[in-house]
């Protein structure tokens, strides 16, 4: 799960990670009032989940409360386009108004799970403000990494390795050790999948501050962090995906016109791939899971076809725990209830396949059946073209 910068800074503050003074505003007058309160130059920052906000015109300086209000009125409500949003952009509903800083140096600090090693890794780089992937490609020597065993947590040598690697000295060494330790605590305590401070700045007066902050959380661990769950912003997610998540369905909207419904994530990805190989484009990823009920199948079907681009549906099920008869029951019910007129290609295999196929045949509905994935994909792509 992703959260906004202002929310991440609130979470980090709980752990004593230093951040600039500031507050969030959802109206221009409030932004002006916050600027008044802070005094001096402020930064007005659009709050959307996507990165690259500055380049897209979502981050502006203001020298007075009046200017802050004016800048905020421009940013609020705008469709902000960055390399991480879609071409239509993402609407800005809030801005973060923060005190301006005199910056001596910009650094990078981030924590993620290193899958290969099986441990969290803390990464630091002297190339602050740049995306870490970009630094890894162009200047890998600028990145310092330390893996941390949760059993010991961050210890002195970890922070020394990071600090000396960044070329810090004097009073900054202690400040950096403290900063890293606090960020580590936040990462572990809140079950983050990513905690990234980019840039981490050294101010002209020698303080370390999280100028920007990004935190993502492990969805599997959200059950033990109700306070983090409340930070979810549904406006940042596709409405169909939100709807799907209510029924425990894994749905991701894509741009094609062949809707697909599959059990299991791997088979669902493979189904998208084979649609493409058959000359079509998948409209979505949809994994109904191993033990889907007839009701879940019905909901999945409803969500799938509410995407207006869908011209044909390909149902590809390899029944294991999910029995083919249960699938057939759900699909038949969905088609009858929703009055679907789209061509539907069904490929079923596995547990109770004969029963499932008999149910489909006897339903009186016009399903196209397929022998194998390839046949199914080709039939669905053809049907999508014809419709």
């Amino acid at each position: 799960m992703k959260i906004h910068e202002y929310q991440a800074k609130m979470v980090l503050t709980e752990f004593g990670v230093p951040v600039p003074r500031g507050r969030v505003a959802d109206t221009a007058p409030l932004a002006g009032a916050i600027a008044q309160e802070l005094g001096g130059t402020v930064v007005v920052k659009a709050q959307i989940h996507a990165g690259g906000r500055g380049k897209g015109g979502g981050v502006k300086l203001a020298k007075s409360p009046q200017e802050a209000e004016q800048v905020a009125s421009q940013i609020l409500g705008m469709m902000l386009k960055t390399h991480q949003t879609g071409p239509e952009g993402q609407q800005v509903k809030r801005v973060l108004v923060e005190e301006g800083m005199n910056i001596r140096q910009e650094l990078y600090l981030g924590i993620v799970i290193d899958r290969k090693v099986g441990l969290p890794v803390i990464m630091a780089s002297s190339a602050g403000g740049m995306e870490i992937e970009e630094v890894a490609r162009t200047r890998p020597e600028a990145i310092v990494k330390v893996h941390v065993d949760p059993a010991t947590g961050v210890t002195g040598f970890h922070t020394r390795k990071l600090s000396f690697g960044l070329g810090l000295d004097g009073d900054l060494l202690k400040g950096a050790a403290d900063f890293v330790t606090r960020l580590w605590r936040a990462f572990g305590t809140k079950d983050c999948s990513l905690a990234e401070i980019n840039p981490l700045v050294i101010t002209a007066d020698g303080r370390l501050l999280a100028l920007d902050a990004k935190m993502n959380f492990d969805d599997n661990a959200l059950y033990r962090h109700p306070e983090i769950q409340t930070l979810r912003d549904l406006d940042e997610e596709s409405p169909l995906e939100v709807e799907a998540s209510r029924f425990n369905l894994n749905y991701i909207k894509l741009d094609g016109n062949v809707g697909c419904m599959v059990n299991g994530a791997g088979l669902a990805m493979a189904t998208m791939d084979i649609i493409k190989l058959a000359g079509g484009e998948p409209a979505n990823f949809l994994d109904v899971g191993g033990g889907a009920s007839a009701e879940q199948i019905e909901n999945a079907f409803r969500i799938l076809i509410s995407d207006a681009n869908v011209r044909a549906v390909f149902i590809n099920i390899f029944g294991g725990i999910l029995r083919c008869d249960r699938l057939a029951e759900g699909v038949i019910k969905a088609v009858k209830t929703l009055g679907v007129s789209l061509p539907i290609v069904i490929r079923m295999e596995g547990t109770n396949v004969e029963l499932g196929q008999r149910m489909l045949a006897e339903s009186g509905l016009n399903f196209l059946t397929a022998q194998g994935m390839k046949d199914g994909a080709e039939k669905a792509v053809r049907a999508a073209r014809g419709a």
Partner: protein, 338 residues
Amino acid sequence: MSILVDKSTRVVVQGLTGKEGTFHALACREYGTKVVAGVTPGKGGIVHEGIPVFDTVAAALAKEGANTSLILVPPAFAADAVLEAADAGIRVIVCITEGIPTLDMVNAARALQGKDTRLIGPNCPGIISPGKAKVGIMPGHIHKPGRVGVVSRSGTLTYEAVGQLTARAIGQSTCVGIGGDPIIGTTFVDALRLFQADPETEAILMIGEIGGTAEEDAAAFVRAHVGKPVVGFICGQTAPPGRRMGHAGAIISGGTGTAAEKMAAMRKAGITVVKSPAEMGQAVARLLPPARAAARMAARPVSSGPARKKGRGAAKSRRPVAGRKPRALARPRTRRAK
């Protein structure tokens, strides 16, 4: 032979008395697996569906000689179940549970290091040696005893592959689902090492997916240590970057973990990579050596150095072992009954 599970496997099901636990324990038993015990803390002493239930794994091991554990407990308790099984001395732990917090698995995997315990999963369908033992949730009836080892990060896509093999009358030595999470116990490399050492396995099918670099590591291992023919498929060739495709581990992040990269690395290592998931069975059929080569293969130990001589890799042969005939032993003789 086969790998990890066989006739000597004695299973304790952690979470036996739950709905999932009961359903799958019975399916495993019906397949012929020796399901000797169940563990549900607080229910020790009862007999559930003819299976004795214990409060602890240690008791199940002491009383019933369990050597393998099948974990079907909810995500919040699964990492603890893994640790308990390892502590009791279980040798093979199969964790089916999906949705375990990543940091819980980091800790559990760390704790298993240096122990003589193998963890399979989590978030996996389990492991089956057809005709011998099924320790997992896969449909047993689609499998057939035979000579192909299957290793995969997926569940149903593995069934699809197995279905394609069985339809061609090609049996499997062992099929192992290693799981779709970012932190897993047994990796592709571990499974490949075991298959290479298993005299009954003559060809290997590996099914990967986007995210992480496990397939690249596997490719490097195949290049250096695997003499048997390997067929590969990677799903997620059309997956958009930055999105988690169902599995917690299936995500292209920062431009790495793409299907294209993995397929290229695997091809470079001499693995026959198919683009279409409909061609997995066919590709194995083409590469599977004739039965008479079996004895020769069986004698091959896992080499410590590169399996291939210089020059052979440069011959652009997709078949990792020179001189092997491409002709399939088992052409599609029977179509599976529909």
